[in-house]
């Protein structure tokens, strides 16, 4: 097990968005969190990387279990150095070119020497198919390319887990494919990933675990194949059916 949260809770303005989430991710898992809008998927992911501070709960990482509320700034930074986050809106450093975006976490945070950082950075860019765009600035790249650079940035620090927060939702349909195929290859390489997405086909074919969330709770979690063929909960069945109809409608001319 790489990461586990227990009884994670979070409220915004008195409204409880996460009502006690239990979730664990094993090494090499590609886990997809599915669920309708407003289920709390993104909030959960953001709490798991401390972009939001959860109100309560425990987190287990690197064999250490800590109450989230008690974690110090130093502990959070150490945790972040071993995890990575891919945002819906890419959030590339706008004043840095693609290579510098990828190496920033190495040279600034880990004090990696420049030559090594450059080598690792170029490898990461090659892995997402953008080695020849190393000196381009974010505004010179398409959305799909920017998101691939963001994935390379996540890979560069060799994290134990990468969080993906709706990585294709801000992209035009013709650009989602290139991002999903990069993620597919990472999954095949055994990268541990926790992914919030609405791409139901991607979830079905790439992930090995599904967590279905609704209304701030985990409704059902399990092996992807099982969830898609024999969901236990009615809500899961209904959600998957609706998603399938929607994706079929999309395919029609």
């Amino acid at each position: 097990m790489v990461l586990e949260v227990k009884n994670l809770t979070k409220s915004f303005h008195g409204q409880q968005v996460l009502k006690g989430i239990d979730l664990s991710v094993d090494a090499g898992d590609a886990t997809v969190i599915l669920g309708p809008s407003g289920a709390g998927k993104t909030t959960l992911l953001r709490c798991m990387n401390f972009l939001e501070t959860a109100d309560g709960g425990e987190i287990t990482f690197d064999g250490r279990t800590r109450p989230i509320q008690e974690m110090t700034k130093k502990e959070i930074r150490a945790y972040r150095m071993n995890t990575a986050f891919v945002f819906q809106g890419f959030n590339l450093f706008l004043n840095k070119n693609a290579l510098a975006n990828v190496t920033e976490g190495l040279t600034v945070v880990r004090k990696t020497d420049k030559a090594t950082a450059k080598r690792i950075g170029m490898e990461a860019l090659a892995r997402v198919g953008l080695a020849d765009h190393a000196d381009k600035y974010p505004h010179q790249l398409s959305g799909g390319q920017q998101q691939r650079v963001a994935i390379a940035r996540a890979l560069a620090t060799d994290p134990e887990i990468i969080f993906f927060d709706e990585p294709t939702s801000a992209l035009d349909p013709e650009l989602t494919g290139e991002v999903l195929s990069v993620m597919r290859s990472l999954a095949a390489d055994g990268m541990t990933m926790l992914i919030v997405t609405h791409e139901i086909e991607f979830a079905r074919t790439v992930s090995n675990r599904i967590v279905f969330m609704e209304d701030g709770r985990v409704v059902e979690a399990g092996e992807t194949k099982r969830i898609f063929t024999h969901p236990e909960k009615e809500r899961t069945t209904a959600f998957l059916k609706l998603q399938e109809t929607l994706s079929k409608e999309e395919e029609q001319p």
């Binding site: 920033e104 945070v109 620090t157």
Partner: protein, 222 residues
């Protein structure tokens, strides 16, 4: 007519010289200090540091809300009353720095607020601290946004240094006044000094353009 032309040519270097030895150093020194004040003040207000934020707001309120000339008089003619004697040039530097710092702090703060919060979040997620993200990611982007309005302030400041004549700094305008007193040619000489200010401002406009071009590498406007 010949006489007038001669006076113009004769006085030009005499006015230009204090421009080079007084106006420009006064501007460069004061603006540099103002920039340091502005960035620090802007960051304090941006982060809402307790205690310091209301102090900075008070400082900005006072220096933006009172005339520059009054500030010069308070420091140079007023403070000696309580035993604080400051020579003309340093007094001018103090007032111009504080005054310009107050204006530029607001410019820099607005520019910081224009940087998307996602830039911070991305910095945190690669393990950077607040200060590392600020220094390497957010502040450079904010300074790019702030560059044109800051250039504007700098150009204003070059012209405002003429007010230092009032506290006996022998800069261009004071020298011009002296020549007028001697020659009784106010129209010619005041137009002439105006022309020299125009030359300085124009030079700065060109520097601004070159600077913007250099900074535009990562902006879509490129």
């Amino acid at each position: 007519m010949n006489n007038v032309w001669e006076l113009f040519l004769d006085s030009f270097p005499k006015i230009l010289l204090p421009g080079l030895t007084m106006t420009i150093p006064l501007t460069v020194i004061s603006f540099s200090i103002a920039m340091v004040i502005a960035v620090i003040a802007a960051m304090i207000v941006y982060v809402k540091v307790p205690v310091l934020t209301p102090l900075i707001r008070g400082y900005i309120w006072i220096f933006r809300g009172t005339p520059l000339l009054v500030q010069l008089f308070v420091v140079f003619y007023g403070l000696p009353r309580v035993g604080v004697l400051i020579a003309p040039f340093p007094a001018a530097v103090i007032v111009f720095s504080l005054n310009e710092g107050a204006y530029c702090a607001e410019t820099v703060r607005a520019a910081l607020e224009a940087v998307p919060t996602g830039q911070f979040e991305a910095g945190y997620c690669v393990g950077m601290s607040f200060l590392q993200t600020m220094r390497r990611i957010v502040l450079p982007q904010a300074m790019r946004t702030a560059f044109p309005p800051l250039s504007n302030s700098l150009i204003s400041m070059v012209k405002d240094t003429s007010l230092a004549a009032n506290i006996t700094v022998t800069e261009m305008f004071m020298v011009t006044q002296r020549i007028v007193a001697r020659t009784y040619e106010p129209l010619l000489l005041y137009v002439e000094v105006g022309l020299i200010y125009l030359i300085f401002s124009t030079a700065l406009t060109f520097i601004q353009r070159a600077g913007e071009k250099r900074l535009s590498a990562y902006t879509a406007r490129g």
